[in-house]
């Protein structure tokens, strides 16, 4: 990893040891936390299930091992069909949103950008609302019209904003952001209208807006995960372009980056990750805006550190919030995340002395 090499070999200039070790340390802590949340998430729920049973179910399902524990079919269903896919889905969604957020912030050179900056949230929500209101029910391998329309709505709005806004010329990024805001406003107005006429279906639209992982299942996970991981991997592979663009378009061009092309590709990939996350979990805020900042605060802005570590931290944050939401019962995951995550973030903002403070 270039971060390690950079810090290690450039230390002649006096970079403190803790800065050198920081990316690895942060990555390790986040990774261990992620594993801990996975274990807790599968072990805990509204129904009490013994640890031996949980371990037994997982070992028998994954490795075919029999450890001499017996359990009921209901226990097996709860551990294997409900909890595990839900925990994993929350991680995949967190990863996708955090990577998309980091990408949009870097691309647009705007610390306040989040995955929904290109109108994807309104687009997805409007798509979902239309699906709810349409008098058709289509279910293809556990995916209803709502998922398809939300996914398409997010992508269409991002495409529209990119086409209308462009990024060229001085002020191009500002134009793109404003276009995103304007298109988002129109879509949000249409969404409000749809909600107004939706009558009893309002609840379905509303629960999409709140976001949640109650619908998680293996099938949905297996469709969404490749999209999110694929987009994330391709973004990470293009981290150099993101880094170069930190210096501005002209400088990036002089560093050999095809700025127009790279920006288009990165916007498309980040929108893809966002759309896939939104389609299976509704609108989950906070993570995409805050996690990249939190990570930059700890390891600096270089893409090859920010992107992978954001992925892990985002996964840990959403899955932890969903675990709390499940245990408390009945609380939207976005609410838990903001309630628990924001104070932690504020604490870091105040206290971090890493050399990367905002």
């Amino acid at each position: 990893m270039s971060a390690g090499a950079l810090s290690r070999d450039l230390d002649s200039g006096g970079i403190a040891a803790w800065v050198r070790a920081r990316p690895i340390a942060v990555g390790l802590v986040a990774g261990v936390t992620l594993v801990a949340i996975l274990v807790l998430g599968v072990g805990l729920g509204s129904v009490k299930i013994g640890t031996d049973e949980v371990v037994g179910v997982i070992l028998s399902k994954t490795l075919g091992l029999d450890i001499g524990v017996t359990w009921s079919p209901a226990t097996e269903a709860i551990v294997w069909e409900l909890r595990l896919p839900r925990v994993l889905t929350s991680m995949v969604v967190g990863c996708g949103l955090a990577i998309a957020g980091a990408t949009f912030q870097g691309l647009l050179r705007n610390p306040l950008a989040d995955p929904y900056v290109l109108g994807t949230a309104s687009g997805a929500a409007l798509g979902a609302a239309i699906a709810v209101l349409l008098p058709i029910q289509v279910v293809v391998i556990e995916f209803g019209l709502l998922h398809g329309f939300a996914f398409a709505g997010a992508l269409i709005s991002a495409w529209l904003v990119f086409r209308l806004g462009g990024t060229g010329g001085p002020g191009g990024l500002t134009r793109l952001l404003l276009t995103g805001y304007a298109v988002g406003s129109v879509l949000a107005a249409m969404l409000t209208m749809a909600m107004y006429v939706s009558g009893a279906e309002l609840r379905q639209i509303f629960s999409f807006l709140l976001g949640g992982l109650g619908g998680a299942s293996w099938v949905r996970l297996l469709v969404a995960a490749p999209l999110i991981f694929g987009a994330s991997a391709l973004i990470i592979a293009r981290g150099r372009a993101l880094d170069a663009m930190l210096l501005g378009d002209a400088a990036a061009r002089h560093l050999g980056i095809d700025v127009g092309r790279e920006r288009g590709i990165l916007l498309a990939l980040a929108s893809m990750a966002t759309a896939a996350a939104v389609a299976i979990s509704g609108l989950i805020g906070f993570v995409g805006l805050v996690v990249p900042h939190l990570v930059r605060l700890l390891v600096g802005p270089a893409a090859n550190r920010v992107l992978p570590i954001s992925a892990v931290v985002g996964a840990a944050l959403v899955s932890a919030a969903d675990l709390v939401a499940r245990l408390v019962g009945d609380v939207p995951v976005g609410v838990v995340m903001a309630l628990l995550g924001a104070p932690f973030f504020l604490f870091l903002l105040q206290r971090t002395r890493s050399g990367y403070e905002l």
């Binding site: 200039g13 006096g14 210096l247 002089h254």
Partner: protein, 255 residues
């Protein structure tokens, strides 16, 4: 890349933004290892000529050849390894230590998945040393003065390790001592390291003192090209810059 012939050659270069012609049939040849300054009044087309020269914009007509190859056919990464352009001083959106900013200069050399190799690290350290900003390595670039930032961005271009260095107003934000130091650095890079230097300068005195060749641009045309003693004579100063030569004391005999 051949070793013979000019490293950069522009012939009959015309650049236009819409109906407005900015560069008008400019021809200019730069030999390997040359040190050349470009001067001219505001709006003369200096920056546009630099952009065309570095392959950043497509001319309406004419050609730019880099070591004999049409510049539009040179691959981006290869171009970036050949010509380093000191970036405009930009605001970074996030906190970033100087050493990491300078490291961005290695992007054209950095294979996508391996990260920095020891050659990269050496180049970064060398660039920081040459510009004399060792004391700033771990500072957040956003905390630095404009002048300090300007030095950092020069280091970014040096870290690119390209044989051609192009600078546009490298002293704009610098005090007189740093202006001279940057000029001395350019001379040293040229004379000791053999780099080809192309600099756009506002300050005629710096151009005349530190550059053996000065090109004067006016209204998109090259109106004079040669040693400063010839190109920055009283007539040029009067006709091109519209000032009384007596008011401009240049370190060359005014004609």
């Amino acid at each position: 890349m051949t070793q013979d012939g000019p490293i950069l050659a522009m012939s009959d270069l015309t650049v236009a933004y819409g109906p407005r012609t900015v560069i008008d049939r400019a021809s200019l040849t730069i030999a390997r290892g040359e040190r050349m300054a470009m001067v001219g009044p505001n709006g003369a087309g200096k920056s546009t000529l630099l952009r065309a020269m570095t392959g950043m914009l497509v001319p309406r007509s004419g050609s730019v050849r880099l070591a004999g190859d049409a510049i539009e056919h040179v691959a981006r990464a290869s171009l970036a390894r050949t010509i380093a352009v000191v970036p405009e001083v930009a605001d970074l959106p996030f906190a970033m230590p100087v050493v990491e900013v300078v490291a961005l200069g290695r992007l054209p050399h950095d294979p996508p998945f391996t990260g920095l190799r020891s050659s990269d690290v050496a180049a970064i350290n060398r660039a920081i040393e040459r510009v004399g900003i060792e004391h700033l390595r771990t500072r957040d670039i956003r905390e630095l003065s404009m002048g300090e930032r300007q030095l950092v961005f020069i280091a970014v271009a040096l870290a690119q390790s390209a044989p051609i260095l192009v600078v546009d107003e490298p002293t704009a934000h610098l005090d007189i001592r740093h202006q001279v130091e940057v000029m001395q650095l350019l001379v040293e890079l040229n004379e000791r390291d053999g780099m080809t230097i192309v600099a756009v300068l506002h300050d005629l005195a710096l151009a005349a003192h530190f550059f053996p060749r000065v090109v004067v641009l006016d209204g998109g045309r090259i109106v004079a090209d040669g040693p400063p003693a010839e190109t920055l004579d009283g007539t040029t100063i009067r006709t091109v810059f519209g000032v009384d030569p007596a008011l401009v004391r240049l370190p060359v005999p005014a004609g």
